[in-house]
Structures are given as structure tokens and as C-alpha cells.
């Protein structure tokens, strides 16, 4: 098994979660909409999971809409609200570092004539509440700012934004809503929809040690949004389709575990992350940490390695049994450096040389130490053939 340091991409399934879902893949296979006993058993399991997921974010069970994942939850939130509220305005405020499942929807809406304000995040990777306030217009109907970023882990001031939106609503702006994508935050920091004051909040199961294929959109009671999948009464008419019972049971179990074990998981991953960063800093020169060092998720480290490009480094590490990820992509000769790192004001070289390391509850000190050694040798090897390193450093790379 490789040393897996890519927990922001996905997490392995917890054994307890796996055991909980197994019966619903075999004997308890009923459709939760069926009237017979098998169906009612499935319904009870879904209802229990709904309470468990609701408890993770301090919501009511009937405010939980199960979806196929975080992407669908974000699509449902943005498109659903915009379709329902477009008679009151067509302006959306969002940030420059949203996940593609928000960014893509916003881009699509823009092509349909919506007006979009994309807030900057500055060098620390954090949105400023004053910028949100300044961007509000009479026709603004939605503010969508993620709770924590997927590449650099920076935690956004969502409670302050929520308070701002609520205050505006209290002043008479009744059709202004606040959505936050909490997919990366879930299980890593506390999420309380009452503290945040959001109207919509997205979650994904596979980021908290459950299988891929399930997510949730929290929809606060009284918020009207148009369903994006129709043709069934499931999820209180908000998301048609037979519930994926086993996956939902897994999500519920994972949510309960995430809540009960959050403190120890956060402390453990923060210890690993800090140990990693300290060792990297000592062993590898010419690096830059991306994002605020304090206001960030406990398990994420994002580092730009000067003179080299991230994908080559990723493959080097993969060959040494260490799995990480990069936010940049090169295809058809067109480079797409990470928009998140670019939004920090980094140049192309630093955006291309950024790697995300994300630690999990089952990683160990030994794994971290091995990863640092592997990283150090990989960076050194790539810099030896880099013309950027050669141009700025001594002639030690010269070969005769």
C-alpha cells in the first residue's frame, strides 16, 4: 500500500463504516419508498442516517437532502436557488477560489446572463468580509463562499458572512441567500449551521471515510429552491431518485464517527502536518507555503517548490510509493496552473510547482518521515535537470 497523503481528494472507507453498510448491499436491499417490510427497513436506515448527518452540522433531519455527492449538492444549491429567486435579481457573489463544482456552475450562469462578482482572496487565501459587503447590490440573490478551500485549506470567515447576510435580510432584503461548500471542512473542523448562519451547505461522504457516491445539501427550513432532478417524491420533492440506501447508511455512520472523533483526528493530523512542514523546511530550500498558516484546516499543507513543475514531482513521489496531488493540469499544450494558487498572487512558476499534501487519521509519524525523505530526493533530482535552477544556482549541475 502506498503512503496515502491525499485525503483531501478522497479517504479510505473506515472499517466500521464498511460493516455498517454491508447489510444494505446484501439482505436489506429494499427500496426505501416501498411499503413492505424490506422497504420500511430501508426507510428507517435512511432516516437514521439523515439524523446522523444532521447532527454533524447541527441541523434538523428534515433539512438534509441526500445527493450523489458534493458536486451535485453544489449544483442543486446554486442552480436551484437561482431558478427560484431569479425574479428578485440576477447577481451572485462568490470567491475566486471555489471548487470547480461551484466555479463551473457560476461560469455557466454567467453565460446565461447572470452577473457574477468573484471576490479576491489576497496572499493569505482568505476572503474579506468587507469585500462581500462592498459587493452586495440590490439585485444580489446569492452569496456562495466555501467554508474551507480544497487546495490550500484556508478557512473562510463564513460565520461573519452569514451574519452579514442575515443582517441584510433583517433590513428587508428578503431574497438574499448564503450557501457554503463545506465538503473539505467536514470532519476536520466543527460545522454548525446556526453559528454559520448559512441557508445552504454542501457535504460529501467520501471525504469523511465513507464511499464515493453520496453527499448532502443542507437546505434551511423555509428556503425555496427548484429541484434539478424531477420525477419522484424522494427527499421531500427536492431530489428525485431512489435513495442509495447502503451509501447513505455509510454516510450516516461516517458522520457520527467524524463528530465523535473530530478532536482526536484533528489533533493527530495537525501533529503530522506540522511535523511534515518542519522537516520539509529543514531539508528542502526554495519552497513557499501557500495559504494562511493559521486559519487553515489541520490536515492540509500546500507547498510550491521553485524551479520545478508539480506533475513531475507527483510522479516521482508516486514511484517511491507516496500519493499526493497537484492543482495544475497541462493538456493539449495548454497549461492550466492552479487557479487557487494563482489567486494568491503567485507567478506561473510557483503555481505550477504547487503540491498538496493532505493527511488522514491513519497516517503515522514514520510515513511522514519517509514522505519527507522521498520528497527531498525527488525535488533534488528534478532541480538537477531544471534550467531554472541551473540559471539561478551554481554550476554544480555541469556535466563534462
Amino acid at each position: 500500500m502506498p503512503i496515502y497523503l491525499d485525503h483531501s481528494a478522497t479517504t479510505p472507507i473506515d472499517d466500521r463504516v464498511f460493516e455498517a453498510m454491508l447489510p444494505y448491499l446484501r439482505d436489506k436491499f429494499g427500496n426505501a419508498s416501498s411499503v413492505h417490510q424490506l422497504g420500511q427497513d430501508a426507510r428507517a436506515a435512511v432516516d437514521k442516517a439523515r439524523r446522523q448527518v444532521a447532527a454533524l452540522i447541527n441541523a434538523r433531519a428534515n433539512e438534509i437532502v441526500f445527493t450523489s455527492g458534493g458536486t451535485e449538492a453544489n449544483n442543486l444549491a446554486l442552480t436551484g436557488i437561482c431558478q427560484a429567486a431569479q425574479g428578485h435579481g440576477r447577481h451572485i457573489i462568490t470567491s475566486a477560489i471555489e471548487h470547480p463544482s461551484v466555479r463551473g456552475v457560476v461560469d455557466h450562469l454567467e453565460k446565461q446572463g447572470w452577473s457574477i462578482t468573484r471576490l479576491p482572496v489576497y496572499e493569505n487565501g482568505i476572503v474579506r468580509v468587507d469585500d462581500v459587503r462592498g459587493a452586495l447590490r440590490d439585485d444580489t440573490i446569492l452569496v456562495s463562499v466555501m467554508m474551507a478551500n480544497n487546495e490550500i485549506g484556508t478557512i473562510q470567515p463564513v460565520a461573519e458572512i452569514g451574519a452579514l447576510v442575515r443582517a441584510e435580510r433583517a433590513r428587508g432584503r428578503k431574497h438574499l441567500w448564503f450557501h457554503t461548500d463545506a465538503v473539505q471542512a467536514a470532519g476536520r473542523i466543527s460545522i454548525d449551521v446556526e453559528v454559520i448562519g448559512c441557508d445552504l451547505l454542501s457535504l460529501s461522504a467520501h471525504k469523511i471515510y465513507a464511499p464515493k457516491g453520496t453527499g448532502t445539501l443542507f437546505v434551511r427550513r423555509g428556503v425555496r429552491l427548484f429541484p434539478q432532478q424531477i420525477g419522484g417524491h424522494q427527499e421531500r420533492e427536492r431530489r428525485a431518485g431512489t435513495e442509495s440506501v447502503a451509501n447513505i447508511v455509510a454516510f450516516g455512520t461516517a458522520a457520527e464517527l467524524a463528530e465523535s472523533e473530530m478532536t482526536q483526528r484533528s489533533e493527530h493530523t495537525m501533529h503530522l502536518r506540522n511535523r511534515f512542514e518542519l522537516n520539509v523546511q529543514q531539508q528542502i530550500p526554495d519552497i513557499i507555503f501557500n495559504g494562511d498558516r493559521e486559519m487553515r484546516l489541520p490536515h492540509v499543507s500546500n507547498i510550491s517548490f521553485r524551479y520545478i513543475e508539480g506533475e513531475g514531482l507527483l510522479i516521482h513521489l508516486d514511484m517511491q510509493g507516496v500519493a499526493v496531488s497537484t492543482g495544475s493540469a497541462c493538456s493539449s499544450g495548454t497549461l492550466e496552473p492552479s487557479p487557487v494558487i494563482k489567486a494568491l498572487g503567485r507567478n506561473e512558476e510557483l503555481a505550477r510547482g504547487a503540491i498538496r499534501f493532505s493527511f488522514g487519521k491513519d497516517n503515522t509519524d514514520d510515513e511522514v518521515d519517509y514522505a519527507v525523505d522521498a520528497l527531498s530526493s525527488a525535488v533534488s533530482a528534478l532541480r538537477k535537470i531544471s534550467p531554472l535552477a541551473s540559471a539561478t544556482q551554481s554550476a554544480e549541475f555541469g556535466v563534462t
Binding site: 524551479y307 513543475e309 506533475e311 513531475g312 510522479i315 514511484m319 497549461l335 506561473e348 535537470i385 549541475f397
Partner: protein, 126 residues
């Protein structure tokens, strides 16, 4: 992105990486679209490439094509080198997808620039 074992081997064990201190032909080219860079230093003598070294910055295909190129051309005649095509580089890189052919093109462009700049090379761009 799935890469072949040979491709990964070139990436992690690049052939002829570095710069020649006694090079008498060299070139550095940049892909204007993606910013990938490749530089080549050559020692030419008696119509042959006696030694070749490369430096590369960019996506893995660019690094691998630099390694493949430097390995192939060391020891061959200048005439043979001038006849090399990007298809040959792409094939030697094993696993270069159709979307990554620009890396092989950059390698060939850099080779031809280096050879064209050497006064005794007596070669033509083709």
C-alpha cells in the same frame, strides 16, 4: 494520466541531464503556449555528436522527451540527428498521448536550433 514504465523510468532516471562545460553547440527553446522549456548543449566533432546534455522545465512529457532526445543523439552523426522527427521522439518516449505531442515537437525544435547555430554543422532546418 497514465504513463508507461519506460516513460516513468526516463522521468525518474533522466539520461544525460545537465550541461556540458565544453559544449560547442547549444540552444534553449520555450513552448510559447504552456511555457515549458528545453535546453540542449552539444559537443560536436568530426560530423558527429560526441556528447549531449539537456535541461528541462515543465510537464513530465517535456522532461521525458528531453531525456529521450539526449540519449538518442549522443554518438550519432549530425546528418542522422537532422533527420530525427518528432514522431520518433514520441515513439521512443513510449506513452506520449496525442495531446502531449507538443513535448516531442519542442525537443526536435531545440535540437535543430542547436545544430543550426553551429558553424561547422553544415546543416539545414527541415
Amino acid at each position: 494520466m497514465s504513463y508507461s514504465d519506460s516513460f516513468k523510468d526516463h522521468l525518474t532516471n533522466p539520461r544525460n541531464g545537465g550541461e556540458l562545460a565544453d559544449a560547442n553547440a547549444s540552444a534553449a527553446e520555450t513552448n510559447p503556449v504552456c511555457g515549458d522549456r528545453l535546453s540542449l548543449s552539444l559537443r560536436l566533432a568530426n560530423g558527429r555528436i560526441e556528447a549531449a546534455r539537456f535541461l528541462a522545465y515543465g510537464c513530465p512529457p517535456t522532461l521525458v522527451c528531453g531525456s529521450v532526445l539526449a540519449e538518442i543523439i549522443e554518438g550519432i552523426s549530425i546528418d542522422e540527428a537532422m533527420k530525427l522527427t518528432r514522431t520518433q521522439i514520441a515513439e521512443a518516449a513510449r506513452g506520449l498521448s496525442s495531446r502531449k505531442q507538443h513535448a516531442a515537437a519542442l525537443a526536435i525544435e531545440t535540437l535543430r536550433s542547436a545544430l543550426a547555430r553551429h558553424p561547422s554543422a553544415n546543416c539545414q532546418n527541415r
